[in-house]
């Protein structure tokens, strides 16, 4: 199929299949999936600028589908998502400015690569440790229940004592998040978490769900299922902003995004529904390979000089 906007020939089946895969991952983990979509679009010859912008447009569509499904399952905290969108957009702008500064200094690729590898590996290592510890603790304490949607949604974390300490910080204004079961938390902590997510999004590209979803769970104390749904809702707003900005620069082939999204729409539904059948720590443990894939891609790019 010929796509005149980016002047490229790409099989629609390939695009729908990639969209489907990213949709499943996004619906299940609450991530945008840029670490797969970017290289997959590059692999069929799409220019890098179009790959980034088009991927963002596709992320918007996929997140709408997955967030709607998560909302139906009671997994979206709208109040938290709206507050986070503000911090994310601010962080994304600062991240983009940092990239411009590094470009002027002439060492952008090396610095971004090293930072991203360190971040990806740290997230994976921490999540393996925490999810494994929580699962071991649960095994010792009580027999497993397998009822989907009830016991599976009850969430625990071996890091919760730290989370509670963060929630006790009295930095005015304090707000409550009843949908997430958080009685009081400083608004500044939420803004800081979303700002960091946005910073990485602007600095490393993509939606940065790989860092935002763990921070929602470990820093703000949001149950994993709600963190996935809320992250997706927040991604709709921040990725729309990114898409609009890239579209103004001529970097979005909306036809490619629409075709990818036909696969993502069904994949995102399947991913979102599947979260009902897994407890929080298991979702977090299954999340671990995603940042590792990101790290592998960056290491490959750093050593070979070929951008995937």
């Amino acid at each position: 199929m010929f796509f005149p906007i980016s002047n490229s020939h790409i099989s629609p089946l390939y695009l729908a299949a990639i969209g489907f895969l990213i949709g499943v991952l996004g619906g299940f983990f609450g991530v945008g999936g840029s670490f797969i979509a970017g290289p997959a679009l590059r692999a069929v010859g799409l220019d890098w600028n179009f790959a980034v912008g088009t991927d963002l447009a596709h992320i918007v569509g996929k997140s709408v589908v997955a967030a709607k499904r998560h909302r139906a399952l009671g997994n979206v905290d709208l109040k938290l998502g709206l507050i986070m969108a503000v911090g994310t957009m601010g962080g994304a702008e600062v991240g983009a400015q940092l990239i411009q500064m590094l470009k002027r200094a002439g060492n952008v690729n090396f610095v971004v690569s090293i930072v991203s590898i360190a971040i990806y590996l740290s997230i994976s290592t921490f999540m393996i440790w925490e999810a494994w510890r929580t699962l071991q603790f649960q095994k010792k304490r009580r027999p497993r229940t397998k009822t989907p949607g009830t016991a599976a949604k009850r969430d625990e974390s071996s890091f919760s004592h730290r989370t509670k300490a963060i929630q006790r910080l009295r930095l005015w204004p304090m707000i409550s998040l009843p949908a997430s079961g958080v009685k009081a938390i400083s608004l500044w902590v939420i803004i800081l978490v979303s700002f960091i997510g946005g910073l990485f999004s602007g600095f490393l590209g993509g939606g940065a769900g790989y860092i935002r979803m763990p921070m929602l769970v470990y820093v703000l104390g949001i149950p994993t299922h709600l963190a996935v749904g809320t992250d997706l809702f927040e991604i709709i707003i921040s990725a729309s902003y990114g898409t609009f900005s890239h579209a103004l620069k001529g970097n979005v082939d909306i036809l490619i995004a629409l075709v990818m999204h036909t696969g993502a729409a069904i994949g995102a539904q399947i991913g979102a529904i599947s979260t009902q059948y897994f407890a929080g720590p298991k979702i977090r443990l299954a999340f671990v390979p995603l940042p590792l894939i990101g790290a592998a891609i960056v290491i490959y790019t750093l050593f070979t000089g070929h951008k995937l």
Partner: protein
């Protein structure tokens, strides 16, 4: 357990088949007619293009979400 899994898999294959028919029709009807117009505004009216981009992707998401939800309910006979 095995029977449930095979039933779910069969339902999923039917869903994919019906969905593929919808999507193929969509490719040929909508995208074919939109391509020329979108290319034109991409080149000459970039602000309108940026706005249309957001409207199209969100619009498609809402429509496809409704279709997939409807298919899930129709074929499995319940809300997942």
């Amino acid at each position: 357990m095995k029977a449930d899994a095979s039933k779910a898999f069969r339902a999923f294959v039917i869903e994919l088949g019906v969905y593929a028919v919808f999507v193929t029709g969509y490719f040929f009807l909508v995208l074919h007619f939109l391509a020329g117009w979108l290319q034109d505004i991409h080149l000459h009216h970039v602000r309108i293009y940026a706005f249309v981009t957001i409207v199209l992707i969100i619009g498609q998401a809402v429509v496809l979400e409704s279709i997939t939800t409807w298919l899930f309910r129709l074929i499995r006979g319940r809300s997942e």
